[in-house]
Symmetry: C2
Subunit: 383 residues, 2 copies
């Protein structure tokens, strides 16, 4: 176990697999279940670190793929790490970059050694190996690093899938062996698509390794929630009780209580920040498309039930004006509100665990946020 | 004189025409000489109001042309005015929109009645008259309104120029007659190009009207500073001692002490905010083009002599990374720094009046900010 990293389960829901916990890293403690805002390139887009903190977050996600390509881990390391580079004094989890290699870069080849790809920025050739992504994340100095995994296409056949899982397991073993820093936690990743047998089999392999936490990867890549929730829950059920479980790239508002009910402790998703930049405001009653003409004269706050700095100061008419006029402040304020909405949502999720009312909260969110088919693919991770 | 508006000269420089004063509006007092950040469309681009205030400003400029077209004065008025629309509790000066009609819109016709033009946004036809721009600014609820003036092309012949001045004077008289609000100051505008006789003649006509302050328009439109400074000073010299003098659309850093030495009290210019968005950081030692490769590894703050929230938290390497990665936060932080630079610069200008060292400060800024010819036209106003 790494120095300064601790996870404690404080309370378990009687009716579901949900649990309340505290996750401690060298940069502080946060309550779980927790949502991590995505700070892809060393910034949660549009916000100052203090604004992210004020929205209720003490742990954010950084993207190793993006930071490795630009500005490069050497530049970040010279600052003493990502925290000081971006002036964030809370905790940081960095992903391994695997997902982006498979989704964003021009993938060249996945072999036993690692993955070679061309940068989406300038076409330059790079290789990610289980060892060098750990080294890169150690240079970035994140509190939690992720292992490099293989993300096979969802159209893969069973043989191909099993080969990918075996390779992911061997890479996980190599990642463990590559660790040099004592003050950074490393999480393994369980893959296996929507196949429960493969998931359980892979979970057994990954849980046997000395990881401080375990992530569930390869979900929220287009499948409907009804298919995703049972896989997340069944996988979580065979993970160690005493380690945090992180569902990568999830989720939309209803996903959060639903997957918490399945035993998930950590989430990340670009949805609240990306939606904000696109003028989509999240409220207790559902989405609000701020550019709509109906808001031209609307003097009410974005969400009358929200106490955030945006809702207490600005009207829908003002936010519509900023968005239509393509003002930078539109992205800033919309992102700020949406992150406050997510911060408050996670507080409600944690309170509902104590109260035993998670199913009711999930139903409320499903009513307010009906799954829009067009949105299925757009959620999830930066990639 | 309007309720709640007061201007007091507290100190006069012994060697120059510079003066220290206090300008009071219904939204507070500010020290002059003062610089007004430009908040064209109901926001100082990229910043929250508190960030503008923290940079040292209590008075900002709003653009009537832009706000009249979008969102429309009715929307702003329904909020109780521009202050509440944009959540700015300091003072606001709105321009009349004249400059934008001549520079940005498709101008159709300037006649005795007013100016007709087509919107640059949607081609719709509009008319600005001396009366309706006062009414619009009363609806916006700014603390200081400007009269509609005629801005003749700089290539105009003497006859054309004299006709424009006469029309500007008649429009100024109509603006005075059109005033309805008792809590809003109105400033007249002196035109006259680079012709000192015409400037003095027009100043005499405008100073005879009951304006709370007087602006000098039609400068900083491409002429070199050496031509501009004497005209500003000669015009200021024939303006009333007891009213504030506002040099519109000026200035670059060296312009500020130079024109203060000529007796100017107020300035506005898009330079610091626009430069910030373009990745140009202003420092005591001159411009810093943040995208340059030399800053990739530079761990020093943007300006080692600056104590602003950007310089105390971030490195040049981080700001370069944000700019190159096209992150929203690049515009936010660069603008924040540049406005702090201007806030500090105005504090130094005011201190130099007390110390009698304005010429030395002007020389220092001229060395740090040599006039770049390509920049001549880009300074000034939103238009």
């Amino acid at each position: 176990m790494s120095d300064g990293f601790r996870f404690e389960v404080r309370h378990r829901d009687a009716r579901t697999a949900a649990r309340l916990g505290t996750l401690t890293t060298p940069h502080g403690s946060i309550e779980t279940p927790a949502f991590m805002p995505v700070g892809t390139q060393g910034t949660v887009k549009g916000l100052l670190p203090a604004q992210v903190r004020d929205a209720g977050f003490g742990l954010i996600l950084g993207n190793t793929y993006h930071l490795a390509l630009r500005p490069g881990p050497d530049v970040v390391a010279r600052h003493g790490g990502l925290h000081r580079f971006m002036d964030w004094d809370g905790s940081i989890l960095t992903d391994s970059g695997g997902f982006q290699v498979y989704s964003l870069a021009a993938l060249r080849k996945v072999g036993e050694g690692g993955a070679t790809f061309r940068s989406h920025l300038d076409g330059s050739l790079h290789e990610f190996t289980p060892e060098n992504v750990i080294a890169t994340q150690e240079a970035l100095g994140s509190d939690i690093a992720m292992v490099l995994d293989v993300c096979p296409p969802s159209t893969s056949g069973r043989d191909e899938l099993e080969h990918a899982l075996d390779l992911t397991t061997r890479w996980a073993q190599r990642a463990v062996a590559a660790r040099k820093r004592g003050d950074q936690a490393v999480f393994g990743i369980v893959q296996g698509g929507l196949d429960l047998d493969l998931r359980r089999q892979h979970a057994a392999a990954i849980r046997a390794l000395p990881f401080e936490g375990i992530a569930i990867g390869g979900l929220s890549v287009g499948e409907p929630p009804d298919k995703m929730y049972p896989v997340a829950a069944a996988t979580a059920a065979v993970l160690p009780e005493d380690r945090p479980r992180y569902l990568m790239g999830v989720g939309m508002p209803p996903d959060l209580p639903r997957c918490v009910m399945g035993g998930i402790d950590m989430f990340d998703c670009v949805f609240p920040t990306r939606a904000g930049r696109n003028g989509l405001l999240l409220t207790r009653r559902g989405r609000l498309v701020i550019k709509n003409a109906q808001y031209r004269d609307d003097l009410s706050p974005p969400d009358p039930e929200c106490g955030c700095p945006v809702c207490t100061r600005y009207t829908r008419a003002y936010l519509r004006h900023l968005f239509v006029a393509k003002e930078i402040l539109a992205a800033v304020l919309n992102t700020m509100h949406n992150l406050h909405f997510y911060g408050e949502l996670m507080r409600r999720v944690r309170a509902a665990i104590v109260d035993g009312t998670l199913p009711e909260l999930a139903a409320e969110l499903e009513a307010a946020y009906p799954r829009d088919e067009a949105e299925g693919d757009s959620a999830g991770r930066e990639g």
